[in-house]
């Protein structure tokens, strides 16, 4: 017994070391990008406010470049808007034309049809006339009347909202990188929401504190994202390999897919975090691949991770519903 005690006293520093090492290893192994503790991550209020303070200063660095890329982006969007407007005008014109040919012409024959349908009815002419207009109105309602109505339907159907947020901390040097944002639960952010900036996609929200939240960066070897080639719709799985922060790899692409260097890669929209068609990057070349049955392509990321500043969090109003359905399907 005395010998044991002596041994313990002599080895006490080592035992203390062992204790801390075990605690660290448990923390290390248990940490999962999607299930982190709010207290032990930079989404907690103290850490967040320290980062917030420093980003108040560093946020002004590189604004010239940000401005430049925003201008380029605005120009592109303006162009796109112009073409879309023209298309909309054309289709509106076509719509009105088809509507005219469909409904205005057979108008004269309609009263007789109604009469035939109700041969026994002996109503006054006034009553009959209102009947006809009601039937006609119902048919017309099926196709939107004017541009205003088309727009209304579009808005009603968009399920995505964008929320501006500022990056207060961003890492690119680890294998598992995270980004801290200055928005949290109070602003309506929830885990698994997608994050984009004006160039492309950035990552997925993992931990949400009251005022700050942590985003799993696309530069995290544990994040896999569904993405597709824009011109032929074949999709694969995008993953970062932990080396160069400008490139990621698009894996699991079928072998027969044709591609060219410079092809655009966009989100597939299969995950609830991102709407389809957001730019991820461009094809740079073929990546080394262990699996012979699939292609792997090196993708130059559109987002400049070394220079993240302002981002948008995508709020998908139907995300929860999709998750519930997907979870149920797994059972």
């Amino acid at each position: 017994m005395r010998k044991l005690l002596q041994f313990l006293i002599k080895r006490f520093p080592f035992l203390i070391f062992l204790l801390y090492a075990v605690i660290s290893v448990v923390l290390l192994v248990r940490s999962n990008p999607y299930h982190q503790s709010v207290y032990f991550s930079s989404s907690n209020t103290f850490v967040g406010s320290v980062y917030s303070l420093s980003s108040n200063i560093t946020g002004y660095f590189g604004l010239r470049e940000v401005n430049q890329s925003l201008l380029v982006r605005t120009g592109k969007l303006e162009q796109e808007l112009q073409t879309l407007r023209e298309q909309l005008k054309e289709s509106e014109y076509e719509l009105i034309q088809t509507k005219n040919t469909l409904f205005r012409d057979p108008k004269k024959s309609k009263p007789t049809q109604v009469k035939n349908a109700k041969p026994k009815q002996t109503t006054v002419v006034d009553n009959l006339a209102t009947n006809v207009t009601i039937v006609e109105g119902a048919m017309e309602n099926m196709i939107p009347d004017t541009l205003e109505e088309i727009r209304k339907i579009e808005i009603w159907e968009t399920k995505y909202e964008f929320l501006m947020a500022q990056v207060i901390n961003n890492k690119i040097s680890h294998y598992e990188n995270y980004i801290t944002l200055n928005r949290g639960e109070q602003d309506g952010i929830k885990p698994l929401m997608g994050v984009v900036d004006h160039n492309g996609i950035v990552g997925i929200v993992s931990v949400v504190g009251p005022k700050y939240s942590v985003v799993i960066s696309l530069l995290n070897t544990k994040l896999r994202l569904s993405a597709k080639l824009k011109n032929n719709e074949y999709f694969g799985s995008l993953v970062w390999k932990g080396d160069d922060y400008r490139f990621a790899v698009l894996e699991e692409l079928p072998l027969h897919v044709n591609f060219e260097v410079g092809d655009t890669v966009v989100t597939s929209g299969y995950s609830a975090a991102f709407p389809p068609g957001l730019i991820v990057g461009t094809v740079e070349g073929v990546a080394p691949n262990k699996n012979d049955n699939f292609h792997a392509l090196t993708i130059r990321l559109a987002t400049e991770f070394a220079r993240l500043n302002d981002v948008q969090v995508i709020i998908n109003n139907e995300q929860e519903e999709q998750h519930v359905i997907e979870e149920n399907a797994k059972k």
Binding site: F14, I23, V50, K171, Y245
Partner: protein, 169 residues
Amino acid sequence: MVNVIKYIIISIIILLLQVLVLNNLNIKGYAIPFLYLWIILRLPASMSRIVTISLGFFIGLIVDIFSNTLGMHALATTFFAFMKEPVTLLYISREDVKNNAISLAGLGASVYLKLLLTMVMIFCISIYLIEAFTFVNVMHLLLKIGTSFLSTFVIILAFDKLNLIHKNI
């Protein structure tokens, strides 16, 4: 007493500097200077090993919480603090260690450089091995260890040269 307060204030400043500036001060993800090791290294050798190791763990944990790498720095700094005494005794006798501050001025250039070289190497190897736990790309790993070793070594040496605390704490 004055030196202790000075040491605590300097430590807090170093930690803030580490998480806010130095962690982002890298070249394409390589060459991260881990200046905060100075806090553990500068602790007097006469201090109980248990306290040194505990401090190492908690300092590592703070850096971890800031950089969302839970357990990584904590494990590496605990090991660093644990190895401090054996490595120090490699280069100087127990008597000399007790009397002198572990700094460039206290130990003299040749001993301090040897000590710093060994300790920083131990830390860089351990932290990148812990990080690469499941992820193996040997060339990339060696490059990360090498570059971070160089930058850490230089920055700690430069910081120690400032000699902000003159005597043993």
